[in-house]
Amino acid sequence: MRGKHVRAWLAASAVAMASSGAIAADTIKIGSFLSVTGPASFLGDPELKTLQMYIDQINAEGGVLGKQLALVHYDVGVDADNARTSTKRLLEDDQVDVIVGGSTTGTTMAAVPLVERAGVPFISLAGAVVIIEPVKKWVFKTPHTDRMAAQKIFEDMKARDITKVALISGTGGFGKSGRAQSTAVAGDYGIEIVADETYGPKDTDMTPQLTKIKNTDGVQAVLNFGFGQGPAIVTKNYKQLGMTAPLYQSHGVASKKYIELAGDAANGVRLPGSALLVADKLADDDPQKPVVIGYQTMYEKATGTDVSTFGGHAYDGLMIAVEAMKTAGSTDKEAVRAAIENTQGFVGTGGVVNMSAEDHLGLDLTAFRMLEIQDGDWVLVD
């Protein structure tokens, strides 16, 4: 059994090497490892589809620097060990020129030490701030962070003269991190967190926590940081208790599904979301409009499913890498790295990217749009 596997593997890799040897001279290899299966498949699935779709398109239009692009992809689930092994293969066996991948923070961080040692540019598609803070020479990322979401929300609250806020967050990874970031940056906007409640990821009733918030003196707004079905239940309970202070949600629920689950109760809720969510509602002079409309049209036509912000992150990552190779005029790794770091005014689905040696994300708060839900649809607030 075992011998058979090894032989099959040897044969397969011999074929792979032979074929890669033959075309290596005129292809640029884009390496990727994504969570296409498992609990984070909602991230990896649209990301992989996006990469395949756009690499095909670029190749059809003549490739980059006169060479064709080749995607080398491994599915790693949410397993950090698997991510490490796959990254090793990408670096040593496949000898890729650049890596665009890492759907989750866990798998990304597993790959970071390897790419740093090997010196290959790596653009991550995962959320957490730790990926780019402190700055790592070869590591970049495209999605906005939960700290930025908190800042965007507090900015909007400040504009409405809200200073006392109650926080209710899920105890899952997303809610926990969001709670920590919200508490950390609230002070910068002169906002005081006067109540701090939590709920479990599988809880089915949050009226006790909300009743406590309702009875806390001086609460002017409530912020719910969470993911999945929890925020929808919070929103329903909020309406049940007849609470009238403005309710804010995080970007974790910025999808039509949330509106569908929360129903009428979602009316009036505000949350930060990416431009992709409201592509058709953007002003005509918005620099992101052509990009997000283009991506949305292409994705929905090719896959027949609704566009997701996660696939957009992969689009941004791929395009930044491609632009950098064009600027560098070669696939020399240090030249490409420097070109990515000098990305200026790149318009992606996530926002306008201006990177620097100190900032390997390059997005500012304008990347988020403040949205309000009215009659079951998004409305742009600013």
Partner: protein, 290 residues
């Protein structure tokens, strides 16, 4: 006072759900001394089937009936094809079979219905009813009302019908029941069917409040099991009281102590109760006669 009432309403609603799940555990335990860990999956099938039938344009009452029928069929099939072939095995083996069945059903639901959460529209609107400064949703009244009806129906079934009495007799002494001519195999089959139907009813009633998805049965099944143990395994009244105690302590702990300890407080309470009453609140003291 208003906040106490609010916590109480929240606790009773959640507790009634746990009670309905706990009743399902009690019924199968009575007939076979098996703890059916696939009980939570019957809730899931009830909720998800109703959602998908509604999505297909079937009117609500028909969708509910279809979902209950489907869950009952799954329950019967589970007994026929998984539990019955192992009828001479140890109880523990059968319990492990039900765990396997629950994983299988969850996997199947993922493939058929997908991994997303779904909401069921409330049966009679979602305008909260205000009582003494606290509010309760009409759907919560549905949950409570249906719980009462189900409990009354079960009481009638077990005390007034031949089949119900046969099930009770089997639960007391299987061999003796067989000797007086009760078909204990049929009793077990009917118990699985009944508890599946009960689970589906619970799953449908709570779906507008808790939302539903392929894995909604894990947590609710676990809490229902705790309710059944707390009240004394096999006791119907026990499952109801156990569920309510669990739900109300959870809500009170979240409201008065801290939401961080919401899940810890009821479990400490359970440990205490089981320490002093190892058979649960209404459990029959086990006497081993040699």
């Amino acid at each position: 006072m208003a906040e106490f009432l609010q916590y109480l309403f929240s606790g009773i609603t959640v507790g009634a759900t746990y009670a309905l799940v706990g009743l399902g555990f009690a019924m199968i335990y009575n007939a076979s001394h098996v703890i059916n860990f696939a009980q939570g999956e019957f809730l899931m099938i009830g909720g998800m089937m109703t959602v998908s039938m509604l999505g297909a344009g079937v009117p609500m009452p028909l969708a509910i009936v279809a979902a209950i029928v489907l869950a009952t069929v799954v329950g019967l099939a589970l007994e026929k094809f998984a539990v019955e072939p192992a009828r001479n095995a140890e109880v523990v083996t059968v319990i492990i079979i039900t765990i396997g069945a629950s994983i299988f059903l969850r996997g199947l639901a993922q493939v058929v219905w997908g991994k997303e959460y779904h909401a069921l529209p409330p049966f009679s609107g979602d305008t909260p009813i205000s009582i003494g400064g606290a509010t309760i949703l009409p759907q919560s009244l549905w949950v409570l009302g249906v719980t009462v009806v189900v409990v009354a129906a079960l009481a009638w079934f077990f005390n007034r019908t031949l089949m119900g009495k046969a099930i009770l007799a089997t639960s007391h002494n299987r061999d003796a029941a067989q000797l007086v001519g009760i078909n204990t195999g049929l009793v077990l089959l009917i118990s699985f069917g009944l508890s599946a139907a009960l689970g589906a009813i619970a799953g449908i009633m709570i779906a507008p409040i808790t939302l539903t998805s392929y894995d909604v049965g894990i947590m609710l099944g676990l809490k229902g099991f705790v309710a059944a143990v707390l009240g004394g395994l096999g006791s119907g009244v026990g499952a109801i009281v156990g569920g309510l105690i669990l739900g109300i302590t959870e809500a009170m702990a979240a409201g008065y102590i801290s939401s961080e300890y919401k899940d810890a407080v009821p479990f400490v309470l359970i440990l205490l109760i089981l320490f002093f009453l190892p058979n649960g609140l209404f459990g029959v003291r086990g006497t081993e006669r040699v």
